[in-house]
Assembly symmetry: C2
Homo-oligomer: 224 residues x 2
């Protein structure tokens, strides 16, 4: 069995994750979510890269927008914080249980297409303090996954949650991605883009900028 | 903190679960899903009981129908099995990762309304063999929940998954529900109803019929 689900947001990390999964020879089933994010431009870029890296299928699941509206990522009345990155505070771009919901869908998809691997681009270095990006959370989800499915309970399949970026810095991630042929101008990390261009000042832009700075590669990001 | 999320399908079990949560004095936030189920009549009945048991709020989350279409519960081209209940086989009404997805949403809802309790009406006696109804699965989800949220990781909240029906037979569940004032004609368990009336022959109807038979209460189900 040589299939993998890749959670693909269209950002720098998930696109690199896609390239890594592809380089390991998996047949890729990419999964994205339309949850009313302000940065929906990322879905267009996710489509671009799903095609570029020749995925077998790319599903974009629509989530109920009314349900995910209490975050600065989705609510136009809440501003995304600018030029004020904190290593300890969980920012207002946090969406409750987001990765749990995303991984649950990935799990359903995995059983449907008979794939034992789910790639997710979480990383704990240079991250924004989200609880559902930590290794402990991922390990716990992997345990759950193997208790949740007909195929896993019947012993026909095991689910592995693959996190190739978990201990990588942004700069290391960029170096890997460049080696694998990613055009990072076709990814967006910004939480608050205008006309598809990055703001350059939100947490996510600051981390990405720093990453390019340290990587030695030119910053391919398209800024406002 | 005295709030509870109740996963409410509109069936016999989840409605009893709602009545139990209410009787324990919780403020109830009910959560239902519209996932293209053939038995969408259950959503109307869920609404009825959410009102009857005076929930604070009742959310019906729309799930992407294209995503959950490979089951006899959702796909009109797959027939629900009739008069052929098996204690060991997982039936074709199985929806991959359904309870994982449902509980993930409940988790997001719990953090949003600041509730530490999630009620789910799973039970392992008189059930249909679904892997995600077992205690092991529920315990594993509870662990995950406490690693997944800002509030739990910061130690401000703990999530408990409440399964008051886990070891109850259908007959015991019905007796509890009758004591708590449930009108079971306002619930539906059937996987394949016609004009809102139960078929009387699918797994779920057979289990419910047996339950009423053993309970001593008249079967209030409205059959075709």
């Amino acid at each position: 069995m040589n299939r993998a689900i890749v959670l693909l947001s269209g950002g720098l990390d998930s696109t690199t994750c896609l390239a890594i999964a592809k380089s390991k020879g998996y047949e890729i089933y990419a999964l994205s979510f339309d949850y009313g994010q302000k940065h929906f431009i990322e879905l267009r870029l996710a489509k671009y890269n799903a095609k570029f890296f020749k995925t077998v299928e790319h599903k974009i699941v629509k989530l109920d927008r009314n349900f995910f509206k209490n975050s600065a990522l989705t609510n136009r009345e809440i501003s995304v914080k600018k030029d004020n990155y904190s290593e300890t505070d969980i920012p207002n771009t946090y969406v409750p249980a987001r990765n749990t919901v995303f991984l649950s869908y990935a799990l359903a998809y995995a059983e449907t297409v008979n794939s034992g691997h789910i790639f997710i681009g979480v990383n704990i270095i240079d991250y924004s303090g989200y609880p559902d990006c930590r290794q402990e959370f991922i390990k716990s989800f992997e345990k759950l996954a193997n208790l949740a499915l007909k195929e896993t309970v019947e012993g026909k399949m095991r689910i592995k949650i693959e996190t190739p970026l978990l201990f990588k810095t942004k700069s290391e991630i960029i170096k890997i991605g460049k080696k694998l042929g990613i055009d990072y101008s076709k990814t967006i990390s910004c939480y608050d883009p205008t006309d598809g261009k990055a703001c350059g000042h939100c947490d996510s832009c600051l981390l990405r900028k720093k990453g390019f700075g340290e990587s030695g590669f030119a910053d391919e990001t398209i800024y406002v």
